[in-house]
Symmetry: C2
Subunit: 363 residues, 2 copies
Amino acid sequence: MISAKALPPTNGSSNGFHRPLTVIALDAMGSDKSPGPELDGAILACRSLPVHILLVGPQDKLEQGLAARPSLRKRAIEIVPASEWITMDDKAVAAVRSKRDSSMRVGCKLVREGRAAAFVTAGNTGAAMATSKMVLGMIPGVDRPALTAVLPTSTGSPCIFLDVGANVDCKPHHLLQFAVMGEMYARSVLNIARPRVGLLSVGEEEGKGNQLTREAYPLLQSAGLNFVGNVEGRDLYNGRADVIVADGFIGNVALKTSEGLAKMVRDLLRESLKSTITSQVGAMLSRRAFEDFKRRLDYSEYGGVPLLGINGACIIGHGSSNARAIFNAIRVTAQFAESGTNKRIAEAVAGMHDASAAVTVDD
Amino acid sequence: MISAKALPPTNGSSNGFHRPLTVIALDAMGSDKSPGPELDGAILACRSLPVHILLVGPQDKLEQGLAARPSLRKRAIEIVPASEWITMDDKAVAAVRSKRDSSMRVGCKLVREGRAAAFVTAGNTGAAMATSKMVLGMIPGVDRPALTAVLPTSTGSPCIFLDVGANVDCKPHHLLQFAVMGEMYARSVLNIARPRVGLLSVGEEEGKGNQLTREAYPLLQSAGLNFVGNVEGRDLYNGRADVIVADGFIGNVALKTSEGLAKMVRDLLRESLKSTITSQVGAMLSRRAFEDFKRRLDYSEYGGVPLLGINGACIIGHGSSNARAIFNAIRVTAQFAESGTNKRIAEAVAGMHDASAAVTVDD
């Protein structure tokens, strides 16, 4: 078995990469059409990324799947057996408890045992959060994990938006922790030197907002962040901030509202284009532009969303992931694992705890 | 001076309409480019709607503006002088207190005195809410006014979404009142016989949500509404419910997130289309489709958002309103005034107060 830290140098050179491979535990049974997208995505990743994949799931099924996909690079893929898997219809907490040999659980254990540097799944988000929290625990000093979306903006650089669904009814110090975690992720993975951090509210002035944001504002202001103050919903997509923090209820509503609007826009545009012959010709001619446009908004290009605060690098992909989305999720996961984000988060949170007792209140 | 209730029959017939005109008080100094859009919008409205407009603002300026716009129908427009106006940069509450002869205040007074059936402004939203609440008061039994957006959906029928910004930190019984008000608006103005009412949350099951939505759920369930349970952000645009209620903080974030995403989509699409000659030709050919698409998403087609709960019909338009948007705002305002929505809301809320003492708790 290959260690997450020290890989045999032959493996690195045989892959054409001159540094040790990063070992990624991939839940092979996560996506809606699993394991096909996972198998194809893993093969794609091994071709072009310095990674070694531990493919977690039912051994027979995965062996058959790999056998049906001849590829030179498959030596960088290894199957780790797990007899069960959690479906999208499973109730998260119940499934995590009852399916003790699930691919998610086994994948997270590989990280805990140091056999993988990171875990990635396109499966049930609630179950992935619960499993990773249970198996890996939290970064010391962090109270709650935050599901973190990477949104496209009109400036081309992404906006880190958290929490988008892990926690509702947050306390002000949770928002502060989200801000610190998002800032570290933006620094470490996106290489933004001094990320601008905004607090999602309903007006720009300090006094605007609800009780939670009004109480969180001074905490963010005095935390040594590059805090740009309150931002509004429209700022999620205009690049006004690199990191935007919100309670998980608000973040989830904002993200799903965006998904709903984007879908309606696509549907209406398609319908409008179909309505006249001239438009049909026009649509045919502008196809390349639409493909470009779609790619820029496409979830699969962003791969997956990190679950920050977990004591281990975890990325959750979309259930509808195709092979390209899985490939990108693996790419982002490897970046996350290599970035040292979690170590930096732990240091920053420890510094905050020293600086202010108010911040250390547990929920 | 013409009364809001009984107009001289000559006026009705001279306009080509065979029923009394609805008198609308229009803030002439609301929009960013006021009073131009208001003057043009009022003239458009008088040409095709059974309305008489009381144009509220500085007499000289409005007289000059009307004189510069020759039209047969101007006899249905009357200037009501107001020496001051509230700008977009004014702090709402301070401006409402200090500008005692503002066009908003005079406009609301016209409704209070029965000289106008409804008030419409494209001005400062916060000031309009504060002024109308102060001058007109609340419908008995309603605790808070709700700013109500009318969203387009992929099914073609709109979704009534409230509150989108009047109230943060709502209590469960406020959400119930919003539900009742939204339902009555959907019935009376949009003619939906049995509007489906949803509660905006982060999952469909009853137990999903934050403390507020979990406590509001049973209230909505037992209120005799056609309650479809929790809905998610994406349901704002897919027609799953006719009315969706949320705390004003959530509603405002969802609405502004939508605005931001729509703007980014337009920008990216334009950029993608410009990127190749073929696409330029394609874009030219599909222009009609884009115009159709834009129209279906365009704010100006929806005119303005009602402020429900105020004891008088009030509509707030977008600051960037053009003449067409003002025309549509007047059209919607007249519908609102004629619909009897407020009377029905008062009856429904009174019934609720009788039925359950828990609902009558004041905030």
